[in-house]
């Protein structure tokens, strides 16, 4: 299956802003935050279409997201994911002594994940943060 090396940028979006006010357990929040915005050319390289599932992997983890065609193209080989519990699974916790983790410009690999599902917030918490 085709894979692509990209740079991951976490970003703020207006829909993420309204989603968090509607409620972080709402479907509105998941639909607008568990997404990966990608350049249309890169989407064609992966032989995918908008709204299909895509898996994003970094050195710190991987997450399945809904693919969204970027309206801000061209930005080849750069993907944008809104801040939220999904993006936090794959960002770099290293602060390099500056107390700021590296949340932008993270090397990542993307690949189609047609048959996988985007986790809901409770399922994500259960899978990654379960308390013993």
């Amino acid at each position: 299956m085709t894979k692509l090396r990209v740079l991951l940028q976490t970003v703020r979006t207006i829909d993420q802003g309204t989603g968090k006010e509607h409620g972080k357990l709402s479907e509105h929040y998941r639909e607008n935050v568990a997404i990966c915005q990608m350049d249309p050319k890169d989407i064609r390289t992966l032989r995918m279409k908008g709204s299909e599932k895509i898996k994003v992997t970094t050195n710190f983890g991987s997450v399945v997201l809904r693919l969204v065609e970027s309206l801000a193209a061209p930005h080849p080989n750069i993907i944008f994911i809104p801040y939220g519990p999904w993006a936090s699974l794959i960002v770099d916790p290293e602060t390099h002594g500056t107390w700021m983790p590296s949340l932008k410009g993270i090397p990542a690999e993307v690949e189609p994940a047609f048959k996988e599902d985007v986790l809901s917030v409770p399922a994500l918490l259960e899978e990654h943060y379960r308390r013993n």
């Binding site: 979006t13 409620g23 983890g61 193209a73 500056t98 932008k104 994500l124 943060y129 308390r131």
Partner: protein, 479 residues
């Protein structure tokens, strides 16, 4: 229906104070002048989960009385050796003041969300200083507005309309009419391209090419807006000029501008993907303006270089002040993150990441900052207020936060509150509780109480004061 006017919006650092809220039977039914995010907050505030406090029993969160939740919280904090008290940017200055007293009492670390947004900006300001102004001054006087590594259209939706390019100032006029005509032109071009693609039977979606040519509007003697970013955001669409920089190369671009301002020659064809001729033209625009301002966001603070990017931006502004008047301001995210820094500074001497474990305030970024403490697994309890670190901290830090006993004070149900041991559903600050908050330019403004909170939802101040009293009582009478 009663209309409450001049309401301040408790969402982002722009802290708009012209909101009108229509109330019927103690419920907000409509809101005017707010952006999409502000309107969502005012209209959806009553979608809270449980109104009563929750305590985790046998692995499940169950309803409890306020007294029980206060007692449990005090026991957690008094019994821990190195608790962290985190959040604070979406609550009032009055609550932050009590929080600092509590942190001192329990010998913990108090840190706010600056740690994951403009932390590097603060370190840089402490190193280099910052020439800045109030947003009112900029609205009336700034004729060159640069948004660098930020997207106000998404994060501060009314910033451009209220304080910069689309605001009518005393000496500078709004440029929204020229934006509307530009937008019309762009739409026509898009329609023509689509029609041509249909006729020629090519693919309808063709990515436009990046153009670095300066438009004629940049030569006009009027207010101008420039956006520097790695992609063409909606904010860039509204700008007179968009400068697309390669990812992680802001530092190089800023230093190139500094060299050009100092009349040095750049012996390369391009810097960070931008042709040097373009950089020279933009430099001329910066030097030629009457009052310029750089608003910068997390595109500078979170990318490699971090605080050094900000150092460089502030130094560029300092250099530009040899020729004209130039200022710089961070685009602060939460509505009272500036207040969290201000209150922390006046109470402890430091803006955030203050460690009281030695009995006096200690500030050593990289050591006393919450994410570093969590990644080193040094803490043994946590109190989170008006924030959602489980959703926004890197996984490793969030995992270590939820491993320990956790108290959450938040009106909303969040991933963090779902993982907590004690949850207080507090009154919404700025909607159900009054207080004070600081706008991003350090102007303090009052937060209004518009409706009454549910009886079982106390304010953040009340909850923190009661926990503090209970901690003191437990220390006096351990048994």
């Amino acid at each position: 229906m009663p209309i409450v006017s001049h309401v301040t919006c408790p969402v982002c650092g722009s802290f708009c104070d012209d909101i009108e809220v229509i109330v019927e039977n103690n419920v907000i039914v409509d809101v005017k002048n707010a952006c999409a995010v502000g309107a969502a907050k005012f209209l959806d505030y009553c979608n809270r989960g449980s109104e009563k406090p929750l305590i985790r029993k046998n692995g499940k969160l169950v309803e409890a009385s306020l007294d029980e939740a206060i007692k449990k919280s005090a026991e957690i904090l008094a019994g821990s050796t190195y608790p962290i008290l985190y959040g604070w940017s979406s609550t009032s200055c009055e609550a932050i003041r009590v929080g600092i007293e509590l942190a001192e009492e329990v010998g913990g670390v108090i840190d706010n969300t600056t740690t994951i947004c403009h932390g590097p900006s603060i370190l840089s300001v402490q190193d280099v200083g910052i020439p800045s102004a109030t947003l009112g001054q900029l609205r009336h006087r700034a004729d060159l507005i640069i948004y660098w590594g930020c997207n106000p259209w998404s994060a501060h939706p009314r910033h451009v309309e209220r304080y910069t390019t689309f605001s009518d100032g005393r000496f500078q006029k709004s440029t929204w009419k020229s934006y509307i005509s530009r937008l019309g032109g762009a739409l026509s071009k898009k329609r023509l391209r689509r029609a041509a693609n249909l006729i020629l039977r090519r693919e309808a979606q063709v990515s436009p090419k990046v153009s670095y040519e300066l438009p004629y509007t940049m030569l006009k003697k009027k207010r101008k807006m420039v956006v520097v970013d790695i992609r063409k955001t909606h904010s860039a669409d509204a700008a007179d000029y968009f400068l697309q920089v390669e990812p992680n190369k802001d530092y190089e671009l800023l230093q190139a501008f500094r060299m050009l301002v100092a009349n040095e020659e750049l012996e390369v064809d391009q810097v960070a993907g931008v042709p040097v001729e373009t950089l020279e033209e933009v430099t001329d625009t910066m030097i030629g303006c009457e009052l310029g301002i750089i608003f910068f966001g997390q595109g500078l603070t979170m990318t490699p270089g971090k605080l050094r990017n900000i150092d460089s931006a502030i130094c560029l502004v300092r250099d530009l002040n040899q020729y004209t008047k130039f200022l710089i301001m961070p685009m602060r995210g939460h509505f009272n993150v500036t207040g969290a820094n201000v209150v922390s500074t006046w109470q402890t001497g430091y803006p955030f990441a203050v460690d009281f474990s030695h009995g006096y305030p200690l500030y050593n970024p990289g050591e006393t900052t919450v994410i570093d403490i969590l990644c080193r697994e040094e803490t043994d309890a946590g109190l989170v207020i008006a924030s959602d670190p489980v959703a926004h901290f890197p996984k490793k830090a969030a995992q270590n936060l939820v491993k320990n006993p956790l108290i959450v004070i938040d009106p909303q149900t969040t991933p963090t509150s779902l993982m907590a041991d004690v949850v207080f559903s507090s009154a919404y600050v700025g909607i159900e509780a009054e207080g004070t908050a600081y706008r991003m330019d350090h102007v303090p403004l009052p937060l209004k109480k518009i409706v009454d909170p549910p009886k079982s939802c106390p304010t953040d101040v009340e909850i923190l004061q009661r926990i503090l009293q209970e901690v003191r009582r437990l220390k006096r009478e351990p048994n």
